[in-house]
């Protein structure tokens, strides 16, 4: 690991001040991903501003929304009563990620900012356009079984590894930011970028901007929501495909509204807008679910090893929706 300057911030404004205009600084929270990457010589910050223990509160508001402090641990969010009652999809997504020990350290902000698990990104002897623009991508013709099927580019086929973000994107969560230019908010679904020609630029965050909170707006029907994750072992593995879903049913069994998001398939948590469009107003049955899944995966493109994800994603969307409307359990 390369030596770096370290400073602990007393509050978000202080953190932004400490970060200042340093071009190669990093905010450090739980460190469960950043420190790993520093040990692997992938992240090489000159300075680290410690924001651990800032903004740890979880505020369940009377209007049904919940504001998660960026420093709240994954465990704190997943075990919070209001989160479990109002947004089971969020609690389930978090509990499907990492291990208990990691969740005890990892934070909301850090989870959003975690980086891809692409093998070649992690190996500084491999070519990677994320690490070095224009170097090439060893994944496209290499081991790409865990890689993207949606929204990838000829420069990068990496996926975003978060489970939590998939649920948050389904829930229309907004991210609160504080930076040198002041504060602003952004829809989480707009925060992560597709790789395009600049896969190294992973988010819309500007230099020195810090995530201070994530606001999950009220969504009454999210109390009927679910997260299903498919992976290579029963725990402590990243998603090959995951689905966050919520369904609002009319008395007559038709779908008033629905939320669908996918993980493990793209460079960002993938909001299933096409699927939702099919679902809205349709009858809640298998045929509808399959049409919705087909619509969402219509533009999916498989690589040499990950073609199975296309069909798998469809199956899991259908299964997740079924479990919501007829209570079937995986």
């Amino acid at each position: 690991m390369k030596p770096f300057a370290y400073a602990r911030a007393s509050g978000p404004a202080d953190a932004v001040r400490l970060m200042g205009s340093q071009p190669n600084g990093k905010y450090l929270a739980g460190g469960t991903n950043l420190v790993d990457l520093m040990r692997e010589n992938i992240e090489r910050p000159d300075s680290v501003v410690d924001v651990k223990r800032l903004s740890v509160q979880i505020d369940a508001r009377a209007d049904g929304s919940i504001v998660l402090g960026a420093g709240a641990t994954n465990t704190a969010v997943a075990t919070h009563r209001a989160v479990r009652e109002r947004f089971p999809v969020l609690a389930q997504a978090i509990l499907n990620g990492a291990s208990a020990q990691i969740r005890n350290l990892a934070t909301v902000g850090g989870n959003i900012m975690q980086r891809t698990r692409c093998y070649y990104f992690y190996d500084d002897a491999a070519r990677c356009n994320k690490r070095r623009q224009g170097a090439g991508c060893d994944a496209i013709e290499g081991f790409n079984r865990i890689h993207a099927i949606l929204g990838a580019s000829p420069q990068c086929v990496a996926t975003h590894p978060s489970d939590m973000c998939v649920a948050l994107v389904a829930l229309d969560a907004r991210v609160h930011l504080e930076g040198p230019q002041g504060t602003r908010t952004l829809l989480l679904r707009d925060l992560h970028r597709l790789p395009g020609d600049t896969p190294a630029v992973e988010t819309e965050l500007q230099a020195g901007e810090l995530i201070t909170a994530v606001e999950v707006p009220a969504l009454a029907f999210a109390n009927r929501s679910t997260y299903r994750k498919v992976r290579d072992r029963a725990s402590y593995a990243f998603a090959l495909v995951s689905v966050a879903a919520a369904v609002d049913l009319d008395a007559d069994g038709s779908i008033r509204d629905a939320r669908v998001a996918l993980g493990g398939v793209a460079h960002k948590p993938w909001r299933g807008a096409a699927a939702e469009q099919v679902l809205r107003g349709s009858t809640a049955d298998g045929a509808t679910f399959r049409r919705a899944a087909d619509a969402e995966l219509q533009r999916a493109v498989g690589l040499s090893h990950n073609g199975f994800k296309v069909d798998l994603a469809k199956r899991v969307i259908v299964a997740a929706l079924h479990s919501l409307v007829d209570g079937s359990q995986p």
Binding site: M1, Y119, D138, F143, R233, S235, F308, V316
Partner: protein, 767 residues
């Protein structure tokens, strides 16, 4: 096999059997579920492992590893690293001390080295990940940082990396761990063609890497120019001493290797390049040096189980009897060791057939040396063979348990010798009863629980009995009645110290509290490698030999005033803290009494174990039956193992607690091998792309169901104490049992490990 070996075997077959061990059926400390004697040290953190040995002036080393698979170092720039804070020295081929290429363990039985390549003596690169520089610094962090500053430029050469495309170049090796590369009887191919029922399939297994929880570590220092001390995470300390003496041109007695605790080894903790580099670095900087591998480096510079492509063809009659048994195939190997991964061994001993063709070939690759990994050969060989047996059972509509019973051979088919012990059918019978096999629905896809399809599978487990030659032991009994037993030996977590104390207590007739087993130090009497599931039997044979010498000495000390006056070795046995006449229970004397009367404060004896002739005279194997149940998701293809029973025939069990743990550990490792583990080797670069425990998927707790194990506990009359080693058999048959259960659940036969969900979904079996 050499002429001498053949002649020797012929002679040995004519020798009378040794009388079975007196203790073979005795009950004392042996067999009890004694807790590990080193348990309190381990759970309280006071057990000191190699990377924890405190030393003055200790320097820390970090490795720089190659990023090409084959070629030469064209240019090295160590300047920036040398100038980095805390750096003591940077070692490369340009300044490394001279080392002789080590002897290689699979051709020189006394060696522990996994390769015979010279280490850091020239500019050559033999595999992607080979150490090319060592940075030595005042702290580990400084060494790690400076290692990033070493600049290496390579001149790359074309490397042999793509196994499947090189199969046409496969060659038969001279031998497979001393056995012929090919066994044939009759014309198996023709017999296959003429058989009414045929199975003829290709099975593939990938590379597997070791993941012992303790990272490889060495701590070395020199005492003057010609004395060396090494703490090493090792499962072969006496062999390591021999290897180091050869490599550094030393007398063996001037090398001391210590390893009191090892955190898992599984075949991979021999001498790798880092061990030699740590010692060389200590010489270069004239200080003690510690070198601990990172997890990534465990993947890059220590090898694991190599990949294989195996053909199994079975030609059967309607009653299940085999007209032809063919098991052939190829594995990937390196030129700098001789480890073909003996997948063809199970087929040589398991089943009766009229004709057979058993053959292994190897494909040379430019990669880190492959090596032993828990039941090398038998683990992947049983995957292919036992999957094929299941396919045959399906084709014949014969229950797979019943099919195995119909194939029971009267003696070892290829070796043509009697089995010393074989109760495979009984292990199946009792296992089937406990598992409830009779209730299984043989129709594929017939059992379901919601979206989960359920299936059961079974497979044979088998592993040879080995007792390694060259072991010795020392026993010392003090006048206070306490005994110390010593052997270099290895405790990698499996309970060596515990079971050896149990055996010694009964052997010496002492309560276990009065017996101490000392080990983990090459200055103690030599022990063979803790490999091939042989250590327990190897050491016990040496302790028995040492005890015979000790008893003779004690009888000589007795003199005419002792109740034992005039007694000889065969007249007495040990019990109640002394020696007593076998024929007259009243006549005897305690050790304390004998030693006090003789005016001695102790008696001590050391002896070598006799040569393992029993292995030549008999076909000696352990057996078992692995039963399991799996659940396969209709939606995702995910596989969950929901039930396991292993039923084993492994001779006498010394400690039911540590034995159960060994069996279970093997089964857990087998579940990983079957379902999730695979070292991804990028054939463009020769680089493993998932060298971490995050992406190399060992099973986690949630992947493992309750594992039931049972054993027959029938002693092998031809083995010391009637025991067989049990460290490896647990993994054998596991992958096949799972593949067979997946077939029963889904109707999908998956012949390539690991059985991941994309393979289950591949043919869209669920429609």
């Amino acid at each position: 096999m050499s002429f001498m070996q053949k002649a020797m075997e012929t002679v040995v077959k004519l020798l009378p059997d040794k009388a079975p061990d007196l203790l073979i059926g005795a009950t004392g400390a042996i067999g009890k579920p004694l807790a590990r004697v080193d348990g309190p040290q381990k759970v309280s953190g006071t057990a000191r492992f190699t990377a924890e040995v405190p030393l003055d002036r200790l320097a820390f080393a970090a490795l720089v590893c190659s990023t090409i698979a084959k070629g030469r170092i064209a240019h090295l720039d160590t300047g920036a690293a040398e100038r980095a804070p805390g750096v003591v020295a940077v070692m490369t081929f340009q300044n490394a001390p001279t080392m002789t290429p080590p002897p290689q363990q699979f051709t020189d039985r006394r060696s522990a080295s996994t390769s015979n390549l010279s280490v850091m003596q020239d500019a050559r690169v033999y595999w992607n990940g080979q150490p090319v520089a060592v940075v030595i610094a005042e702290s580990q962090e400084q060494a790690d940082e400076a290692a990033l500053l070493v600049i290496v430029v390579y001149r790359e050469e074309k490397a042999a990396l793509a196994f499947e495309t090189l199969l046409t170049d496969a060659k038969a090796p001279d031998n497979i761990l001393g056995e012929p590369a090919e066994e044939r009887r009759g014309d198996a191919e023709t017999a296959l063609r003429k058989s009414p029922v045929r199975i003829d399939e290709i099975y593939r297994t990938p590379r597997y890497n070791h993941g012992a929880i303790e990272l490889h570590a060495s701590t070395a220092w020199w005492e003057g120019d010609d004395k060396l001390v090494l703490h090493d995470a090792s499962q072969a300390i006496s062999d390591t001493r021999y290897t180091l003496a050869k490599t550094f041109d030393l007398q063996e007695e001037d090398v001391r290797v210590l390893a009191p605790f090892v955190g898992g080894a599984f075949g991979n903790k021999g001498v790798w390049s880092h061990t030699l580099l740590c010692i060389a670095a200590a010489r270069l900087v004239d200080r003690p040096v510690r070198l601990v591998l990172s997890r990534e480096q465990v993947f890059r510079i220590t090898g694991g189980r190599t990949l294989s492509r195996q053909r199994v063809a079975l030609g059967a009659n309607a009653d299940g009897t085999l007209g032809a048994l063919i098991h052939t195939g190829e594995t990937g190997v390196v030129s700098h060791n001789a480890f073909p991964e003996q997948f063809s061994f199970p087929a040589r001993h398991l089943y009766a057939a009229k004709t057979w063709l058993i053959q292994q070939k190897v494909v040379g690759l430019d990669m880190v040396a492959n090596t032993a990994m828990r039941a090398p050969g038998e683990s992947i060989g049983t995957f292919a063979l036992e999957s094929a047996l299941d396919e045959l059972a399906v084709a014949l509509r014969i229950d797979p348990v019943d099919l195995r019973a119909r194939l029971e051979p009267p003696k070892d088919p290829t070796k043509d010798t009697p089995f010393s012990m074989r109760n495979l059918v009984e292990a199946y019978r009792r296992g089937a009863e406990r598992f409830g096999w009779a209730e299984r629905n043989p129709a594929p896809g017939a059992q379901r629980d919601g979206e989960w399809r359920i299936g059961q599978g079974v497979a044979t487990a088998t592993y040879p009995y080995y007792r390694m030659p060259g072991g010795a032991a020392r026993i010392r009994i003090a006048a206070d009645g306490r005994a110390t037993v010593q052997a270099a030996a290895h405790e990698m977590g499996m309970g060596t110290a515990t079971v050896q104390a149990q055996h010694a207590a009964d052997r010496l007739g002492l309560p276990i509290e009065l017996v101490t087993f000392e080990y983990g130090d090459s200055d103690l009497p030599r022990s063979p490698v803790a490999g091939g599931s042989s250590q327990t039997a190897s050491i016990i044979a040496a302790v028995i030999a040492a005890n015979d010498v000790l008893v003779k000495q004690l009888l000589e000390l007795c003199g005419k005033d002792s109740p034992l006056a005039g007694a000889t070795l065969d007249d007495v046995h040990a019990r109640d803290g002394g020696l007593f006449m076998r024929a007259d229970r009243e006549r005897g004397e305690t050790y304390t009494s004998i030693l006090r009367r003789a005016g001695k404060d102790h008696v001590e004896a050391v002896a070598d174990a006799p040569a393992p002739l029993e292995m030549m005279k008999y076909s000696m194997h352990s057996f078992g039956a692995q039963f399991c149940e799996v659940r396969v998701s209709d939606v995702s293809g995910e596989i969950r193992v929901s039930r396991w029973l292993g039923s084993f025939d492994t001779g006498r069990i010394l400690n039911s607690r540590t034995a159960a743990s060994q069996f279970r550990g093997g089964i857990v490792m087998g579940i990983g091998m079957a379902l999730s583990e695979e070292a991804l080797f990028d054939e463009r670069t020769g680089r493993i792309v998932n060298p971490s425990l995050a992406e190399y998927h060992l099973p986690v707790h949630l992947d493992i169901p309750p594992i039931d194990v049972m054993w027959l506990d029938l002693p092998d009359p031809h083995a010391p104490l009637g025991l067989h080693g049990i460290g490896e058999i647990g993994i054998t048959g596991v992958a096949a049992a799972i593949a067979n259960a997946v077939y029963n659940a889904t109707g999908r036969r998956i012949r390539q490990l690991p059985i991941t969900l994309d393979k289950v979904l591949a043919e869209d079996f669920l429609g």
